[in-house]
């Protein structure tokens, strides 16, 4: 009962933040309400018994990614664009189409029987780290994926630095041209 009350409170906050993202005028307000939505989603992860994913959500999503987004919005000064309308005429067709798609998926979800399996404990830090790094017990699949994610993050960082370099170093025009 208590879990349901907590879930309803967090779900209302999450959906409210998402609606603020959809209807906000300034990108900065949208980013801040997206942070609120992600923090309440982290609370829901903790409520569902996977605190490690919740902590990663707070650190990476609400911390790093949204900090980067807010920083770029402030640097590019998106307030200059507040004169352009939020939606255009195509949205008249997009809104009913996506809402009908969501309704169809909702009917399929409600008519499918499934329930929580409360017997086993999962999502703890010890179990997650054992699954990721104990290659004798769980095979090499997750460990190789982990290494691949490291490579992906490194290449994304290099690509971002290369693409945004001309703004940072305005003097080395000849050096930036070789890329």
């Amino acid at each position: 009962m208590l879990a349901l009350i907590y879930f309803i409170i967090l779900a209302v906050i999450a959906v409210g933040g998402a609606l603020c993202v959809l209807f906000a005028r300034h990108p900065l307000y949208g980013a801040l309400s997206l942070v609120v939505s992600m923090l309440s989603l982290a609370g829901i992860y903790g409520l569902l018994g996977s605190p490690f994913v919740g902590v990663v959500q707070v650190m990476v999503y609400a911390g790093a990614i949204m900090m980067l987004l807010t920083f770029v919005i402030m640097v590019l000064n998106g307030a200059r664009d507040s004169r352009t309308p939020r939606f255009d005429k195509v949205s008249l067709f997009v809104f009913p189409a996506v809402i009908v798609l969501g309704g169809l998926l909702g009917v399929a979800l409600v008519s499918t029987p499934f329930a929580f399996d409360a017997g086993t404990l999962r999502g703890s830090v010890a179990l997650t780290s054992a699954t990721l790094f104990d290659t004798e017990a769980s095979g090499h699949g997750y460990f190789i994926l982990f290494e691949a994610v490291g490579l992906l993050l490194l290449s994304a960082m290099v690509a971002a630095v290369l693409m945004a370099k001309r703004r940072l170093g305005t003097t080395d025009e000849t050096e930036g041209g070789e890329n």
Partner: protein, 104 residues
Amino acid sequence: MELQAVYVQILALILFVIGLLTAISRRNVFFVLMGVELALNAVNLSLIGFSKTLPGDLSVAGQIVPLFTIAVAAAEACVGLAMVILIFRNQESVDSDNYSGMKG
């Protein structure tokens, strides 16, 4: 009245629909990126909720995959924002309708 597994999926569906609407119908390119992030969050929530319905060892994958999703979303946001900076320097606009320079 306990917390049912369906409620979590319904919440994930609502968040996914809102994120998809934001990504498709908003014109500001920052809102497009934020809608993509919101939809990714909703899918993470759905995976966590479904992994609690499976018994035992089967359910560990549903706890591991969201971690990789979050890492890939971090890489995507990094490259996407660098591309936004690059385009904004050429176009001086964040309206995604102005980015149709590749149209023939």
